[in-house]
Symmetry: C2
């Protein structure tokens, strides 16, 4: 129990940092989804886990049902660059984001020689008033398209509203409306924090003293937060480091007790807490969790190819990239850099009247708070807000077709803005599919002697909208599951994959 | 809340009785499974619920994957009549049950002129000692086959042990070992109780006085139990009745407050509690829950054909009708008249050693207790033991292929003994299938910048063994789900189908 607790601390400790690296890698250039090399190798492997066989099988039986080919990076880029909004709630397009970026960069607030460079911590659609959205129906012109942005410049946080068509920009100081707090970190904030410690001779010395080569060290910005007077009015983050030597699972090799406090604005090292010299760094042996690294005799027995098939294709439709219709449901679904996905205007058909009834106007993950509540020096500050500080959307890796989602899945890309406002595409961030695992949705069997001979049973088929936020070693899966009986089931699943080795 | 509570009372109230009718209908003759007429009609229906479309679809895409045809009644009978046990825990075969019946009926205990007819409340395998079962391996001769039976004769309850080969019979008085209580009702007990009230002129009068025709009345043996001195040493049951006029859903038309106390041994009406004359019988209108009775405009939208496909067939094997092997699992599965199904010797392969490790020697539903805890006259006695008093196995309706279980399911029949020991077959009582609904079994995504490019995700494929006990308006589904990570998930699902109208 205690060790599990400690392990969880240890793993979460690293969540923030790997995020930095990941986000950095994806910013601002657009990476086409890479089919996992393990898939193909697994397919040829004689012994195979359910994962592999599933991956292989789904490919092998492609003849049963054509799967839409994964679009090329080029076709994907062209599609998004020419995309135009179809619905009042559709996210900002690449063209709109570029316009917004131009408006902000050329605004006097950020152009005057005195002003420092502006960093955009958020650029998303400023949704029209609910009344305007409800009034709108297909064919109507869209309400004015506006962007909401959070900008930091010269130590100030500004809340911006940009009218995309007119280019009009309104700005408010955040301090005027909210007394304290800072916006979601930018990718640049997090990346710079990973390298900041190496500018400190003290840091480099203590690492070397522990017998760790600097070239093997990876530092991760662990956790933000306000911890007393001396940290007043500063955007500080605690950074901790790990040895990447001899394993892909560096989460298992922490340099324990070594905490570096970094100023996210100046990038300065403010303080070094160095208390773990006596704590050895765990061995790298047997920490690799990859299927390809698992000994053959330790692999699961083969499971035959299995998949969900729909010979007539899926029942749902996706209009204008974001409006989903399925069975008796209709809802708007869009990626969001902070929340991950936002589900809007969920409506279900009333079987009595045939009318579409509003079930939910807007739903999303507001926050995922992970307080460790350990008072010791290296742990007291671990109070993660995985959505608000790191961004569920920013950390949603592309879903792995066939393994993350079944073969009948439809994929949705995200278009986000980097810290300088440059739009980029996060491919396959969301998948939508009809789920049928053999469950029963409704049943009643009646006694034959009554002469009724009733056997009423109805299979359970649902629609699932899925995203997976990989916040370092925490792999969150958010499933929005829609049932034909009008119920919405929201599942938040946490995998601590690197624990399962 | 209150009305829901009352409704649940009302529905459960009827559970016991319909069971009687059902069991009666299935006893002792063997009924081949009838494809629900609704299936075909649904298939041709333009509008269709997920159930129907599923049923139809699964038929329509039969070309994708051949489904083993449902065996004919004749072939099924022949197979079971010639069946021989393959495993120490295999249930008694038809041949063995016939032998046991002969031994008991010709035994002096039950043959002497003085002795009354014997009723067999249980005839099942008397499992060999655990040590003998663990010693046994395929190819070894089976340990001696014995039957355990509970017989009632002349008001006595006897526990019988019959050696199938030698015909040796050992008998103990239950009263010697257990101070009180009675065995599971026989089908005859329950059936006779449904007709007993009509022998009472008082009963017939009060029913007629309420404007209900006797020909429309169905009575059900509601609940057993011991309620005070005056019921000492008697096998009593409370019977209540309903109007079947103008609806298949007579559960909705109770003759409230009318309770008839019946002696299960003498079939005599002991007492009539008649307090509900002022309570009207609910209308029959809009109580029909059948799909065919639902107005077209109230049906769900069409869901396209969907099913689980395994082009190479299922991964699991069933040896000797009961030994199941799948992935890294092995277990023995058999139907049981009381428990429903019994899972024995569940073993999983240890990935370290490759050895099969014992996870569970024997698991089953010990009881399902439904105490209503309402002190009023017509409700205080409702303290159902749905497994022990009525029998989960006895009340398992044949599963409805495509609707109760997916198309890749394997079906297992049950062979039970009727109250006079006559064996009968309950077809398709259990189904076994591999489940894949698009869920993820394990995942970890790694940051591309580390150069690892790790995207590890493994779909979740499980093995499900399912039975459905239809205890009147309570439709229980018992799923034993086996995960490749060594976990067994037992799901007990309750549908109150007739509530959902």
């Amino acid at each position: 129990m205690e060790s599990t607790h400690f392990s969880r601390f240890l793993f979460l400790l690293l969540a923030a940092g790997i995020l930095i690296l990941f986000a950095c890698a994806n910013f601002p250039t657009y990476l086409p989804p890479q089919p996992s090399p393990r898939l193909s190798s697994r397919c040829s492997a004689s012994s195979s886990s359910s994962s592999n066989s599933s991956a292989c099988k789904s490919r092998k039986i492609a003849g049963i049902l054509k799967q839409p080919p994964n679009p090329t990076a080029e076709s994907r880029r062209l599609r998004h660059e020419s995309a135009t909004p179809q619905h009042p709630l559709d996210p900002l397009t690449i063209q709109e984001l570029n316009k917004v970026r131009h408006v902000i960069n050329s605004h006097h607030l950020f152009k005057s020689p005195s002003s420092s460079a502006v960093a955009l911590h958020t650029v998303v659609l400023e949704e029209p008033p609910k009344s305007a959205v409800l009034r709108w129906s297909p064919g109507d012109p869209l309400p004015p398209r506006k962007a909401f942005a959070i900008a930091r410049s010269g130590g100030d946080t500004l809340l911006l509203s940009v009218d995309v068509a007119s280019g009009e920009l309104k700005a408010d100081r955040a301090s005027d409306s909210s007394p304290s707090g800072y916006p979601t970190m930018t990718v640049e904030d997090m990346t710079s924090a990973t390298w900041a410690p190496f500018a400190s001779a003290d840091f480099n010395r203590t690492v070397t003293d522990r017998g760790v080569e600097l070239s093997d060290v990876a530092c991760l910005p662990i956790s933000l937060g306000w911890f007393g007077k001396k940290e007043e009015d500063r955007r500080l983050i605690k950074v901790q480091c790990y040895s990447m030597k001899d394993t892909v699972n560096f989460y298992m090799r922490p340099i324990e007790g070594l905490t570096v406090v970094v100023d996210l604005d100046s990038k300065d090292v403010i303080e070094i807490v160095d208390k773990g010299r006596h704590i050895p760094i765990p061995n790298a042996a047997n920490t690799d969790y990859r299927y390809s690294a698992i000994k053959k005799n330790q692999r699961l027995d083969l499971v035959n190819p299995i998949s969900i098939e729909q010979p007539k294709g899926p029942t749902f439709t996706v209009t204008g990239d974001h409006l989903v219709r399925w069975a008796n449901w209709e809802f708007h679904l869009k990626p969001d850099p902070r929340a991950g996905v936002i589900v809007s205007q969920a409506r279900v058909k009333d079987p009595e009247t045939g009318e579409m009834r509003s079930v939910m106007y807007k739903g999303y993950t507001s926050e995922l708070f992970v307080p460790y509540m350990d008072p010791t020096d290296a742990w007291y500050f671990k109070t993660y807000m995985d959505a608000g500080e790191y961004g569920f959307g920013l950390n949603s890796m592309p879903l792995d077709p066939l393994n993350d989602c079944p073969r009948n899945a439809h994929y949705m890309d995200a278009v986000f803005a980097a810290g300088d406002g440059t739009p980029y595409v996060r491919p396959n961030m969301v998948c939508i599919f009809e789920s049928y695992g053999g469950d029963i949705g409704w049943r009643h069997s009646e006694s034959p002697i009554t002469g009724m001979g009733i056997i009423e049973a109805r299979p359970k088929v649902t629609l699932v909208a899925r995203m997976a936020a990989s916040v370092a070693n925490y792999d969150y899966i958010i499933d929005w599951e829609f049932q034909t009986d009008g119920l919405i089931r929201i599942k938040v699943i946490l995998f601590l994959g690197v624990l399962d080795i």
